[in-house]
Amino acid sequence: MLRPFDLHRPGTVEEACDLLARLGEDAAAYAGGTELLLLMKEGLLRPRHLVDVKRLGLDTIGDGDGRVVIGATVTHRAVERARLVHERAPIVASVARHVANVRVRNVGTVGGNLAFADPHSDLATLFVALDATVDLVSPRGRRTLPLDEFVRGPWDTARAPDELLTSVTIPPRPGPTAAAYVKFGLHERPALGIAVVLTFDAHGDARAPDRHARVSDARVAIGCVNPRPARAAGAEVRLRGCALTGLEDVIAEAAARAAEASDPAGDMHGSADYKREMVAVFTRRALRVAAARARSAITGEREALAPHYPHAVIA
């Protein structure tokens, strides 16, 4: 049951920002509603105005100089199915396929997910690993923020009340790349999400690393266990420069560093020490999956099926 509110349906970004500016704290931007309406039903949020942002032309996925630009009101389902996403950033499509459940994916939006900053978001963790940025528009102008700076903590972002998140941009990787996202947990939302993105020196095929490739750039992002998704710099350093063929030798140490860099709190999803250990376990697993994907890209062989771990999803 929802309390009454006024629903505004602006037709342009400017109108939407004006409304948000004018209504201030009484208003909430509303897209899919899968998070917002849930909290409103529980009485945890009580906005008197909802500003529907689904008619602002923000529901397209575009190509900007090799970057993938996903409009804020694109649904998870649309991301999962977009050709451009499959071509340029397949890991994004794969993660979108595993967000929540099919009903949430049909309605929930990328922008809503990021702007809500639920600490158990899959997308935020992935986008941190992909160096994604978000665009924010307000009557004062437009600004671009790295995801890392945008998400400040649980349900807390750098978005000002009159600002609208309009899109998320995923830059191209500087070389052939393999990525993996692994999440784990018993509950509806993951206890843990690990995104790894390995980029290799470009030799030969621009898209696939060759057998002599080395990791030129590594990204390891840990989600859900910390107040906000964060990169594990120590793990990334350990992976950088490593030969594709020698990755297995450093994976355990990189994962241990990722665990050391995590500072989980104990809650319904697990105790702190267990979560920290699981960061190590699933960073190892995510790195192995990414390494296998990189190897299969070289040999052209069909990638071996990733192992199935109970209560875990590999994207």
Binding site: L2, R3, T34, R77, A100, R103, F184, M268, H311
Partner: protein, 915 residues
């Protein structure tokens, strides 16, 4: 706002407020009741509808979003009057039980098959991640999706060939059609003229004195029709409870747990009632609370109840007694032989303590009641209850009315599992309807269901002594059960379960000592297994520990000690009426107990024995109408288990008519005769026997009329295909009735009564039958995370005779998967006296993906039960061995003995690390 929407092909123009949810508009404005509200958090899928072909959660979707779109609900799935292929597949495969999830499952399947017509198992599981079912164990839902996708026929059931025409055959359930089309009606689907809506204000503290309730502002709120607090209940006896009347309708002076009802509002709609709740000012003074057994049993512990609770409304529970000055609300002791001496002389003694968590039933339909008083002082309550006649007794006494003035009607139940036994919301709904002077609907949310009842958690210590040859010589069992803030039926759970703490084994010396303990938590009550899972968890784990110590194979050790068919369980009680050894052999063969294990796999086994309720009374009426059709009147509740189908099959068999000619009426205490309770696995056996007797009574009447008019002796008569056959003569039932009544009218009424009465058995009545089952598991464990995967699970239940094998198989599959829930996932967690996980977002029940690929439920059928055609109770037994079978498998695989459920990954991980 104006919404133009096409629903199931029909255009509507509706004026709806912007905050209206699609679910409410569909249900309340368009009278499309197929979509259900359950978790209310997009987790369960019961409210799934398709918007422009895409599945959405109608509970979290604004109705205005449907403007300009096309909505499909379950009511739109059938075409040209016939069922669609998905509906037919669900029906054929037995994928429907209580029906509460069915509409969402069907529409999710439709969206899936529209998306990927050739969906494989992995796609299906991916799609079903957001679709919960608490009854079926998913196996038959997966079968149905597979069947619909690939236009296959429903998989066969592995059953014994039936010598009967109707009984023993897997006919589709009689209520299947209404459930796959969304026509089945549940309490919250009912609407009465002038009906108002109620909401409950619940105590936010674990224990508090309620000093003052000021409802002045709430009463003045527009749209509010009545507000009640405890102090207003002077015109009735406000106390209820089956064991003790320790529970007031609304807190009188003390609220005893977080969620204890303190006040309630009736208003023109739910939203207004909810608004008014915020206007009630309650002055609480916090009291020290006891949350755990340790806290409640500590010397000088704060008392949850200070006065002597009033005796309950049920004479057969009069042996239950609290221990004054403590939180112990009942103590049960039973001994035989000399346990201390036997233990001292035993070759091997194993001892350990085992913990069982608080578990929520999560029947997908939360509790609901719709109450209305009439001008004669009569009260009618449409209630989501498993036992209308127990609710009737309580209401009659509370409101000082004759039983005949209280009418309890039970439409379909969206799952029960024990959560809907005895009065829950009904007294409050009745009081509110009285105060408001009009019909009042009180519908709990799922979070409120978490605050209504749960499984009694427990701490069980068992010492078991064995002779050198493996004979179990002695069992000493000390069990403490946490029954929460009000006794409900908890003391009886403790007494009855502890009575069978020795399981299916022969034990000469035993000492059983159990306490039911009050705590400041959600009341504990009946839950599938009625306390036996808690005790079997301990005993069956120890049986394996003993086998290790004795150097024996766990299956052999069990076989050696099993009670034999016909052997006495306890003096005066019913002898064992099944072949436990057959179940054990079949289970161990099916799991390939003696064959080599694949790397990383472990196997475990466990057995159980459970008594049914005693004394146990059921009555039934069977009416044979002038056209030869049949109505069965009985008050067992259809809650998904298939009771109506079983009763229809029994009546159809005896009266030699097709099942389609038999109608089983819904329970209505004004019409359908007395039935004690729909619990304790008793419906098919006890109500079924009453129906059988009643049908036989009709048969005798048919014979008498025929004999009178034809002169053929009764012994030469038989029934065949709707006719009495007298030699070469065939008289159709309409002809026989016309002979009897001299016109085409009248009916033959048969009556059946089952009432075994009281006996000298230790609990005052002999169990009518023993429920028994054996479970065997094969598991693997992710050593790095501690996550257990159940690879295969076999359950073998001794059911005497399967009246409908497919429905029974579905029951047992559901029982196993519910068992997987408390074994691996489920636990209500309290922090500082507050329940931390009272929503499906953080209370995890099994999903389709958790069901073992190799799940097999089998039956032993020796027709040795006391029920119709040799049937005996089933449906609880298969749940009980799950926990110990899996823990025993883990012990054999990884060398760790688990003592606390659930076996969450973290708990197992800790145990593995401590090796």
């Amino acid at each position: 706002m104006t919404v133009r929407v096409v629903v199931n092909g029909r255009a509507h123009e509706l004026d709806v407020p912007s905050h209206a949810l699609l679910l409410d508009v569909l249900r309340d404005r368009l009278d499309l009741k197929g979509a259900k509200r359950s978790c209310d958090a997009q987790v369960c899928g019961a409210c799934t509808v398709l918007v422009d072909g895409l599945a959405v959660s109608a509970c979290t979707y604004l109705a205005v979003e449907a403007d300009g779109r096309s909505v499909q609900t379950v009511e739109g799935l059938a075409s040209d009057g016939g069922l669609g292929p998905i509906q037919q597949a669900f029906l054929d495969c037995g994928a429907v039980q209580c029906g509460f999830c069915t509409s969402g499952m069907l529409l999710t399947t439709k969206a899936l098959l529209d998306d990927s017509p050739m969906a494989g198992r992995e796609d299906v599981l991916h799609y079903l991640r957001g679709s919960l079912c608490r009854c079926t164990g998913y196996r038959k839902i997966l079968d149905a999706i597979d069947t619909a996708a690939h236009a296959r026929v429903a998989p066969a059931v592995d059953d014994t060939p039936s010598p009967f025409r109707v009984v023993g055959r897997s006919i589709p359930r009689v209520d299947g059609g209404e459930k796959v089309t969304g026509r089945a009606r549940y309490v919250t689907d009912a609407v009465l003229p002038g009906m108002a809506h109620a909401k409950v204000l619940r105590c936010p503290y674990p224990h508090a004195r309620v000093r003052r309730v000021d409802a002045t502002r709430a009463r003045a709120h527009p749209g509010v029709l009545a507000v009640l607090a405890g102090a207003d209940l002077t015109w009735c006896d406000p106390y209820f409870g089956p064991a003790f009347r320790d529970r007031p309708i609304l807190a009188l002076d003390v609220a005893r747990y977080e969620g204890d009802p303190v006040a309630a509002v009736v208003a023109v709609d739910e939203a207004t009632a909810a608004e008014a709740l915020a206007l009630i000012d309650v002055d609480y003074a916090g009291l020290p609370a006891v949350i755990t057994l340790e806290e409640a049993l500590a010397p000088g512990a704060p008392l949850v109840h200070t006065g002597q609770p009033l005796a309950g409304h049920f004479a057969d529970l009069s042996t239950l007694k609290p221990e004054p000055g403590t939180n112990v609300c009942h103590r049960f002791r039973y001994a035989r032989g000399d346990v201390d001496r036997a233990l001292a002389g035993a070759q091997v003694v194993v001892e350990d303590t085992f913990l069982f968590p608080r578990v929520q039933h999560y029947a997908m339909e939360p509790h609901a009641a719709l109450a209305a008083w009439d001008e004669t002082g009569g009260l009618a309550v449409w209630a989501s209850t498993q036992n209308p006649y127990s609710v009737r007794v309580e209401l009659a006494k509370m409101f000082d009315a004759p039983l005949s003035k209280i009418r309890i009607v039970v439409p379909h139940l969206g799952g029960g599992f024990g959560s809907k036994t005895y009065a829950k919301l009904e007294p409050l709904a009745a009081a509110l309807a009285h105060a408001a002077g009009r019909p009042v609907r009180l519908a709990a949310s799922v979070t409120e269901a978490f605050q209504t009842v749960r499984r009694c958690s427990s701490r069980v210590t068992v010492r078991a002594g064995f002779a050198r040859d493996g004979t179990l010589v002695a069992v000493d069992c000390r069990a403490d059960f946490d029954v929460g803030a009000y006794a409900d039926i908890g003391p009886r759970v403790v007494q009855k379960a502890t009575y069978t703490a020795t399981g299916p084994y022969r034990v000469a010396h035993l000492a059983l000592d159990a306490r039911a303990v009050y705590t400041n938590t959600t009341p504990g009550g009946a839950f599938r297994g009625f306390g036996v899972p808690q005790l079997a968890w301990a005993l069956e784990s120890l049986m394996d520990a003993a086998a290790d110590r004795l150097g024996r194979d766990p299956v052999d050790l069990r076989r050696q000690n099993l009670l034999a068919h016909g052997e006495e369980f306890a003096p005066g009680d019913t002898p064992i009426d099944g072949k436990l050894e057959e179940s054990l052999s079949r289970a161990s063969e099916a799991i390939q107990w003696t064959s080599a294990l694949a790397a990383g796999r472990g196997r475990g086994v466990a057995a159980m024995l459970k008594a049914s309720i005693a004394p146990s009374v059921s009555e039934a009426i069977v009416r044979l109408h002038a056209d030869g059709s049949v109505t069965v009147l009985a008050s067992t509740v259809e809650m998904g288990q298939g009771a109506r189908t079983a009763l229809a099959q029994i009546a159809a068999e005896v009266l030699a008519v097709p099942v389609a000619r038999v109608t089983v009426a819904a329970p209505d205490t004004a019409i359908t005769p007395y039935d004690q309770t729909t619990s304790s696995s008793r419906s098919t056996t006890m109500t079924g026997r009453a129906v059988m007797e009643a049908a036989e009574d009709v048969r005798e009447q048919l014979f008498r009329v025929t004999t009178t008019h034809t002169g053929v002796a009764t012994r030469d008569l038989r029934l065949d295909d709707g006719a009495v056959v007298a030699g070469k003569q065939r008289l159709g039932y309409p002809q026989v009735l016309a002979l009897r009544f001299g016109m085409s009218g009248g009916e033959l009424i048969g009556r059946g009564i089952v009432a075994p009465g009281r006996t000298a058995a230790p609990l005052g009545g002999s169990t009518p039958f023993w429920e028994m089952a054996v479970g065997a598991a094969e598991i693997s464990v992710d050593e790095e995370t501690g996550a257990i995967r159940v690879e295969r699970y076999v359950s073998v239940a001794d059911v005497g005779r399967a009246i409908n094998p497919r429905i029974l198989e579905g029951q047992d599959e559901g029982a196993v998967v519910q068992g997987l829930g408390h074994t691996l996932l489920e636990e209500m967690v309290y922090g500082d006296g507050h329940l931390l996980n009272g929503t499906l977002l953080v209370y995890r029940v099994p999903r389709a993906e958790d069901v073992p690929d190799g799940l097999a439920c089998r039956f032993v059928e020796n027709a040795d039960g006391c029920g119709p055609f040799g049937a005996k109770g089933a449906g609880e037994g298969s749940l009980i061995p799950v926990s110990p079978a899996i823990a025993n498998a883990l012990a054999r695989l990884a060398g760790v003995r688990m003592r606390e459920l659930p076996l969450t990954p973290e708990r197992v991980w800790r145990a593995l690390r401590a090796r």
